[in-house]
Structures are given as structure tokens and as C-alpha cells.
Chain length 345, copies 2
Amino acid sequence: MADRVSIKDIAKAADTTHSTVSRALRDSPLISDATRERVKRLAREMGYTPNAVAQSLQTNRTNAVGLVVTSIADPFLADVVKGVEEVAQPVGLSVFLNASHNDPNQEIQVIETFHRRRVDGILVASSRIGSNHLDRLARIDVPVVLINSEAGEDSDFLHSVTVDDQTGARQAVRHLIDRGHRRIGYLGVRNRPLSNERRRQGYLDALAEAGIEPQDDWVEIAAPAGIGRDQDVTAAEALTPSLLSAGVTAIFCFNDMVATGVLLACKHQDVRVPDACSVVGFDDIDLARYVTPSLTTVHQLKREMGSIAMQMLHDLIEGKTVQNRVLPPRFVRRESTAPPPRSDA
Amino acid sequence: MADRVSIKDIAKAADTTHSTVSRALRDSPLISDATRERVKRLAREMGYTPNAVAQSLQTNRTNAVGLVVTSIADPFLADVVKGVEEVAQPVGLSVFLNASHNDPNQEIQVIETFHRRRVDGILVASSRIGSNHLDRLARIDVPVVLINSEAGEDSDFLHSVTVDDQTGARQAVRHLIDRGHRRIGYLGVRNRPLSNERRRQGYLDALAEAGIEPQDDWVEIAAPAGIGRDQDVTAAEALTPSLLSAGVTAIFCFNDMVATGVLLACKHQDVRVPDACSVVGFDDIDLARYVTPSLTTVHQLKREMGSIAMQMLHDLIEGKTVQNRVLPPRFVRRESTAPPPRSDA
DNA sequence: TCATGGCGTGCACACGTGTGCACTCTGCTC
DNA sequence: GAGCAGAGTGCACACGTGTGCACGCCATGA
């Protein structure tokens, strides 16, 4: 009952028209102070709550944005989403959350849904979408900000915020080299091809700088069954023995989940970390501090990525122009790295 | 350009009226097969995407639900949200995600936003809201499902799905007793009072069954600075020494995060787990398998809670009646529990 | 006294879609 | 041949809000 009250009802109660009520509630200077106050008081008393649906239809603005992530249960993305939320809420933007699970059908469906709902902008933290569905995104005619999956040739509606994967990877591997390692492995993933390629390249850069010839059997690329933590861990666990038997004394991992899988595998094989083998992760999710040994890793500004991306999208919606952002990684040394068992000359 | 096409435009192209187009697209039996096909083909060719905003205004259904969580970065809630998503997407419901951070102002604002947007239902995974904002929720006149925070006296619009905290806790503590422990501590949290109280009660039940007199200094209740993982861990870490010096040989923790804090504290104090002290968690988040030693804990059906809650909400929206659900916990034994160091007679 | 101007209000239309009702047309039946 | 049923379509209104424009009123000034 308190629900169904519209500005028309208020108008009736105030003995005026809905136009006046609308203007009074929006503090239009056209309205006299007396009626403005009278209308506002009535609105309060009658328990009026504006109908955002009708407003959207009229103003052609929904004040809603779409957010696609590959998986919500990914702790990395959870932090990103948190950052998004922290900016969206204060500026009055609502967020439609959708997962894509790297499934082409769901990706299409999600974009379609955002279009139908006439969102004012889209945030993508799901690497495949940026590249694969450009045409579909373009048709919506709405600003898009990609997170950790660059904007290809910069079109005028596609923007991005990323971390400098390659530099982060190079720093991490250089640390291992500085500690005396020469035989260093890379354990990557197949289902996030862009980041994986950049981090692998950083790994190769560091080896090259140190004059180390990379060996084929130092590199393994896991193909996790799905998306998210569990699969990364399991897939990495399975591939670790092969790397160890290739004789590496340190393993640089695509992310902390993969590194955790390596830790578990070492535990089962009684390979002591870091004494017998050093391990380095990427992302610096909370987990990195909780495992034993705690993970040396590359810190990403996860929450900041989310909030910066959301701020960019907000600016774009307001018609401002924005600059793409590349955030700096930060190397974090913890307990999972040490010099190699015996120095390899 | 492909955007601004409405059913009126299609009507013009098909040399008919928007009424016919509307009916044709909705497969109304009033329309002849010929025109239906013609309209549908034109709609496709012109790149028509229905305007959900206008549809909502007309039908008084938004096909959107609101989801409030205390924090998105909480791994427990992340799984719940995932379950919600998995049900919502297929049935065509969109999800507005909002965080409350246990902040009364934000809680009010979130509910207000959901009302303005005329969501068809609300999902609450933020314990405080159920009890504190009943009046506000009632005013929206929309079904509400609470997750892990019961529905008080069951009103007709409030429903819930919870886990049986008390039984889970009792099972966990009984396991410790079976292993031979007599001096068992409880490390709880202050900012989730309902669950905390139920788990503490289960702890007391188990002690009572074994004829053990609980001691005041066996129980500590942490007051984490905020919500989510990090604060739980830190707060628990700080309180662990006090429990250890009370002479307990095992600690039952409010959740796995708290347990992780205990593990860290023990590590720093060189107290070996489980040899010198056993530790039990709650929730069975992924982390529980990754720490060393892996955590003995109480498994919760996290994803299922989300999907069941969403299914309930969907049924309620469709006008069906539903039953509140209490999910069974499942005790999981891992590496963090063992008999006490020397048997206390 | 009349023109002028400003202030406050109401009228009417718009946004895009759904739907009850009236209308037209075709073909059939008596 | 008139009447009628039924199928297909269009008209008009509704949903709740925002806004350009015209109107009425009052005060001011010539």
C-alpha cells in the first residue's frame, strides 16, 4: 500500500498536478518555496519512493552498469569487484553482476542482457570478451572498460586498465636469478592467454638478460578444467613433477593459485620449499600470506584496478575523456624463495 | 544507430502498427503466421533489442533481484554469490550486487536503492539486515530470502536458508573430545552475533555431553576491525596467545579464517599444530585445504545455499509457496587435529 | 489605465511497450 | 442474399516520470 504511491497521488493530495510535484521534488527553481516544501512533506508522509524504471525510460539513463567476470569465486576478481563496488555505490550507479565462465554462449547472453537492460556502461573482467565480441559490444553503443585484457586498437568506446604483467614477471624471475638460480621453470595456464603470454615473455626477458638459454622442458602450460581457484591448483599440482624432473631449482608460476598447487605437489613428494626448490607466485592474493611457506609473489593493485576502472567508466558516462591505465606491479619477497640447493656453475 | 530501433520503427518498416509488432514478437495467437514471420525477420534485420526498461514499466516486473552481502571479498560469500548466479541467469533474472560492510547507513541506502529500482525480490547475505531493517524491508512489499540469518517470527514475506551451526559445532568439538582433549577453547567473533552464538552453543553442548566443566578463560571473542578475511585472521592471531596460556590443548574456531589466524600465531610462537595444539575451523573454504597443516573443519554447502536461496526467491516471485531450509553441516577431518600432547586425566 | 515582465502553474506530449476493445474483412451457412 | 462467426488488425489508453510551452496572475512603471 505504501508502495503504489506515485507523483500523481502526491499531486492529488497537494491539489496540484504531477508536473509541479515532479519539479518540486527535483528542486526546480521554477517552483515556489511554499509548494516545494508542501510537496516534499507530503511525499515523505505518504512514503513515496521514486520509480527508477520510469525515470530511466524518460531520461534515457538507467544509472546502471554491467559487470562481467569469468568467475565470482576467483579471489583475484573478488577484490576487483570490491573496488568496483566502492566507487559505484557513492556515485549512485547500480551494478549488474554476471559470470561468463569463459563459455561463449554465456558471454553472448550476458552482453545481450546488458543491452536489453540499457545499461549506461560495461565493465569487463573476463579476458575473452574484449577480443571475441567486439561487434556485439559496439552495437550497444555504450562505453566499455576492460580490466586486464587490453583494448586492441583503441576504438573510441573501448578502454582499459591493466597491470604491467611483463615487468612484474621479469622482476620476479630476476629475483630468482639474483639468488643464484640458473635453471628456472615457468608454469603457466592456457585459459587466460593474454596475461599468460605477457608473463611468459617477462620470464624469457629475465633469462635473456642473464644470458641463460631457456630450455623447452622448463615450461609447462596447464589447461585447467574450468575457471577459478580449485582448477588452477589441481592442474598445477599435476604438472609439477614433470618440471621437477626437468631439474629446475625454482618455479615461476602464472599466479598464486598455481603456486599453491606447486606447494602441495612438493609437499606430497617431500620436496622442501624453499630449500630444495623455490616458488614464486603472482597476484598476491590473501592466500599467499597464509600458506606455508608464505609465497614470494608479485603484488597487484586488485581493489584499485576495480575502483579505477569504475571511475573511468563513470567519467566516460559523464562524457569526459579518459586515459587508459597501466598499473605498476610490486615484487614481494616472502619465505618461498631461497638460493638453490648447491650452486650450479 | 542500430541501437535506437523500437517496435514503432519495425511497425513503420512492416507497414503496420506497433501493437501488431508487439504481439508478433511475443508470439500472440492473434497474429497471422505471415505477419509474425515478416515482423520477426525485420526485427532481426534491423537489429532490434527489446527495451527491458519500458517492458518493466508496463508489466510491473523488472526481472531483477537485489543481492546484499556484507563483503564481496569474503570467500564464503563469494561461493554463495556464485550459487545465486548459477540459478538466476538461466531463469532470466538479473542480479544487482551491493555490499553493506555492516554499516547501518549503507544498509539503509542499499535497501532504498532496491526499492527505487523496483526489484522483484531481495536476497540478503548480511546478517544484520534481517533483524534491524524489518520495517524498511516490509515497505517494499517484495519477497525476501535471508541467507544464514534466520527469519525471526516467520512473517509472510521473510524466508531463509541456513546451515545448522549448532550441530556442526557440536560435531567438531565432539571429535576433539573423542581424540582425548578435555581442555578445549573457543575463538569466536563479535560482528556476526547470530552464527557466533549458535556455534558457541554447540561447543558448550559437546562439553556438557562429555561432562566437561567449561572455563571462562577458554573462550575469547574477537572484534575484527572490519568484515572479511584479513580482519578475522589478524584479530584471531592477536587473541591466540591468551588462549594458549589458559592451557587449552585444542581450539575450536568460528571459521576457517579465524583458524588460519590461530595457525599463524602458533607458527610464530613455535607451537606445533597438531602435535602441541589441535585446531578446528568452520565453513571449509578452499583455503582450508591449502594451509599447512590442512584444516580439520565443518563443511558448509556454500554454493548450494546460494542456489537454493535464489531458487526459493524465484518460486516466491512466481507466487509459489516455499519452505525454509536448514542445510546439514558435514564434519571434515584433515591434518590439524591429533590427540593432546600428554593425556590429561 | 494599460502595457510589460516575471513568477508560478498546468497542459500536453514524450519515452517504449503491452493489451482491452472495436473495427474490418473474408468466407461460410441458412 | 443476408446474416454471422471468426480471424486479423488498429485505436487508444496505460505504466510513472520529465519538460517545453503557453497561460494566468500580480506588481511595477509609464
